[in-house]
Amino acid sequence: MTASSPGTAETVDQPVQPPPANVPKVRGFRPDLRLSILFGVLVVLCVIGYVTGPDTFLSESNISTMLRLAAAIGVVSVGMTFVIISGGIDLSVGSMVALASVWMTTLATQSYGPFVMVVCALAVGLGAGLINGLLIAYGKLVPFIATLAMYASARGLAERLSGRRTQVVNQQGYLDFFRGAFLGIPVLIWMLAVVYVVGWVVLNRTTFGRRTFAVGGNAEAARLAGINVKRHTAMVYAVAGLCCGIAALMVVARTTSGASTNGLYYELDAIAAVVIGGTLLTGGRGTLIGTLIGVLIFTVVNSIFTQNNLETDVQNIAKGVIIVAAVLLQYGTNRTRKT
């Protein structure tokens, strides 16, 4: 079943299309190069850290501390990456972390023991994310609006539940496990690693991930290919919520308490990390590795500034400069991209 002749043979005055073989394979989007540049930025920052603090910066304990600090925002950023690749945005991640951390540390929840606390946090995160997803997919709300509403109400509910108090964890078993270490590496870092590995596999090796790219790349085309776009959208936001539940476990472990002030500005930090990582805000393209590097860049900057006793305002300026610089650097590799 092959056609006999190439198509252009029988026409006369048609300008011949340029031979397709000369077209670069992946015009304008070279993920490997972008990631290398991003990784280079991280390395440069680490060198700066080492130069300004040769004794402390690359020590085992500092690396461990930096990774533990990166854990919660790192996990939240995994969910955010899924949402943004699917063409959406989630402004409520910080509030969902707060709600999950408060709900799992109420006296009542704690009275059921550590296992129930964990289940509670995950269920609250998943449930809040699912509400986002249902509002967006079936309620036809714009993601910005739906998650803005969750941003306000989830934190409000967290304040109500906690009476705006910091709820201290009295379940020593919980603290022993999540603040402990396994094979010499803190549990939080294991969790971070597992979430990224699982997230990467789901995004790149499963039909769920493929559909996420498809929905973000062209929702209409995905719909006309028979994909249930609404259900998938709802599921993506539920994943983001679940990630917030996991992050709440981490924050509660780190601070030994749950409070409605947890997760402040997580949405901004997560979006910044995702964008720095090379994921397009318009959806359809993105990498989790980039997101992870983005998270680590911010963590390293934070550590360098504290180590050198610099003011937080300077640190905020540096953060802004890094966001712009990292994105510009990547666009530099990407001039021919048509938008």
Binding site: T65, V124, T166, T255, T256
Partner: protein, 353 residues
Amino acid sequence: MSIDPSRRKFLLGASALGMSLGAGALVAGCTSNTPAAAGPQQVAGGSGANAQPGKPVTIGFSAPAADHGWMAAMTKNAKAQAAAFKEVTLDATEGTNDVNQQIAQVETLINKKVGVLVILPFDGKALTAAGQQAMDAGIPVINLDRVFDTPLAYRTWIGGDNYRMGVNAGDYIAKQMKAKNVSNPIIGEVAGIDSLPLTQERSKGFKDALARNGFKVGPRVSAEFTAESGERQTANLLQGASKLDALWNHDDDQGIGVMAAIDSASRKEFVMVGGAGSRDMMNRIKADNTVIKATVLYSPSMASTAIAVARLLGQGKGVGDFAEHEVPASITTYSAVVTKDNVDSYLDVGFDS
């Protein structure tokens, strides 16, 4: 503040939400508690003739959102104090961190012609005009804690002493260092939000007191009065300083996070001092099994005092033991240092973080 029925109703709603979240009875079970029952509340009793009920007074009260333990305690104390006086009616607005909204609230209270106004401004400068407007309308204003730009805007100012908090923390640490014979101590500081004047005053007092003793401030970070930021910043600080002799944390709300970070890093070699005076920190001081050995007060009991003074103003009385016929124009509370030795006598002013 005890649990009022409306709140109970809301929590029922919250557990209904829990069901809809898909977590079922399990999560609904999570909500069956209400926040820890009210702890000790500081209620000032009138003394002498002031103990007798006077003419009825309506007191207007406006404060920022009770979004952390200290601020929550301020509002709670004000309400408890008002409830202790039969003839006092408290008209409290919903706390807000939006300056414009707080101005609007104050204006509403002025229009309601309350007898006395107690204003704890989110931002003293921004609310100055509102305070002055009330004074011009003949309503005495009690300016609580965050001070207005001009004394014309208040009848009486009641507040803590941020500078002295720093001084007392510094003096206590210096005394400890000298007692231990540490010659060149490394003294760390976990401040609050750096852009706030109160943080700057605390830090200046701390620096001045240490300087007076020939010491200086070493590694310093600033957190945001939340447990999470306290943990993050302290973890970084401890990484940067492999050895510490002392550490002052400005705020016991963020102190929970600070303690968690110290615990994570398994650090025990230094002396820590807290700030503001939460019950949680006082209990830890009492237990004496962690690095925290003291906290300097910045007590929300001042809100109780403010209501008591407002009542006296409304009734045209003076303060009992004072010779003056009038209430003073300014009252500064003292930042006592609470240690293991005196903690029992201060537990009643500790607030729930």
